[in-house]
Amino acid sequence: MTEIQPASGVADMGGDSGWGRAPIIDPDEAVFPEKWEGRAFALALLSMRLSGSNLDAFRHAMNRLDREHYIDDGYYGRWLYGAENLLLDSAIIAPGAVEARAANIAGDHVDEPPAPEATKPDYAPTAAGSIREIDAPRKFTVGQRVRAKTMNAPGHTRLQKYTQGHVGTVTIAEPAQVLPDTHAHFIAENAQWVYTVSFDSRELFQENAENFTLNTDLYEDYLEAAS
């Protein structure tokens, strides 16, 4: 059941170049410019419940998508494909069912596969949301120098590739939260402390990078002490 599928790598785009000029802001943009986008949004939220899954699994279901499916139909496109992945994983819908129904809506007459027997993950959250109360002491303190580990996670992670291996300073001690890396695969909540870590831009990128501070949240498992 907990077969771990790798991320395609498309989603982890922080620090990449090649995506072109920054977008133009449309201050009057509709929340859902096209009707299907609202439907896809609602279907995805409901699919998380239907599949007996969770938010981290949903994010990973999107991170598994190849470039075409992640990018070409935009944000709610990847929500829809991600939702389908969750529903396929839990056998709420059969492989090929969506394609067959789409063909029939378009006027074709193809056989549709029967609804399968659901196989939801053996998983139940210990509380709502992602924040947890834990007793463990914090491993790191505000002001401490820490290094983001280089991890090569087999499945889901929130440790961006652009921070890996770099040294920063803990600036905020954040609440404890479930670890996405294990939660996404229904292995364990593994609730642990989270830290906002500040990095100098020239530590992350090259010496001649723009001068700024980058703050990001890193889970305790992602960090080690640095001198």
């Binding site: 599928q5 982890d12 785009m13 922080g14 620090g15 990449d16 170049s17 000029r21 920054a22 977008p23 802001i25 449309d26 201050p27 943009e29 929340v31 859902f32 410019p33 096209e34 299907w36 896809a40 949004f41 609602a42 279907l43 409901l46 999107m62 991170n63 598994r64 998508l65 190849d66 075409e68 499916h69 990018i71 935009g74 944000y75 496109g77 829809l80 396929l88 709420i92 819908i93 969506v98 394609e99 129904r101 063909a103 809506i105 609804a115 929130r158 961006q160 652009y162 609440p175 939260q177 989270v194 906002t196 723009e210 700024f212 501070t213 980058l214 703050n215 990001t216 949240d217 890193l218």
Partner: protein, 198 residues
Amino acid sequence: MSDAQSSSDRIPINLRTEALEQLLVERGLVDPQVMDTFIKTYEKDVGPLNGAQVVAKAWTDPEFKQRLLDDGTGAIAELGFKGPQGEHLVVVENSSAVHNVVVCTLCSCYPWPLLGLPPAWYKDPAYRSRVVREPRTVLNEMGLELPKDTEITVWDSSSEVRFFVLPQRPSGTEKFSEVELAALVTRDAMVGVAQVNA
């Protein structure tokens, strides 16, 4: 294991969405009225007007502002704003010395209870990838030119903490009421790609 991506012919996304909705609705797994409610909530009720109220109150009530910066989640809940994607809120203040700007490089995490669902520019790969590498250039391209001596801090939302920018109050608004101030505050200023103008 089969994946949604294994189909060879691309089906138009609106048709694909309709097909999935039909499949789930006809088996009683999804109620279309519940879907309508979700959609309407984010089209009508939950949007940047919430965040603008928080900002206007912070600009006019120094004690509230202090609580907001010390405990964002608690201060924002005083105004009744909470919900999905707002489990823990951290508010960061812009000044002439420091300019904060928020991104989520890994997906598009965004403080829904305060700003609603993210706009297209926030979800654009160019914004997600580049603002953590060359924020000054990206902000320039988006129409915000900051003074050279203003330091930039970029916040990449990677946990369930959500960051919210308290923009600088524009000069010339000393006599404005809270309601008049709220009307000036834009979504883009509360993410940090714009400033509030009087």
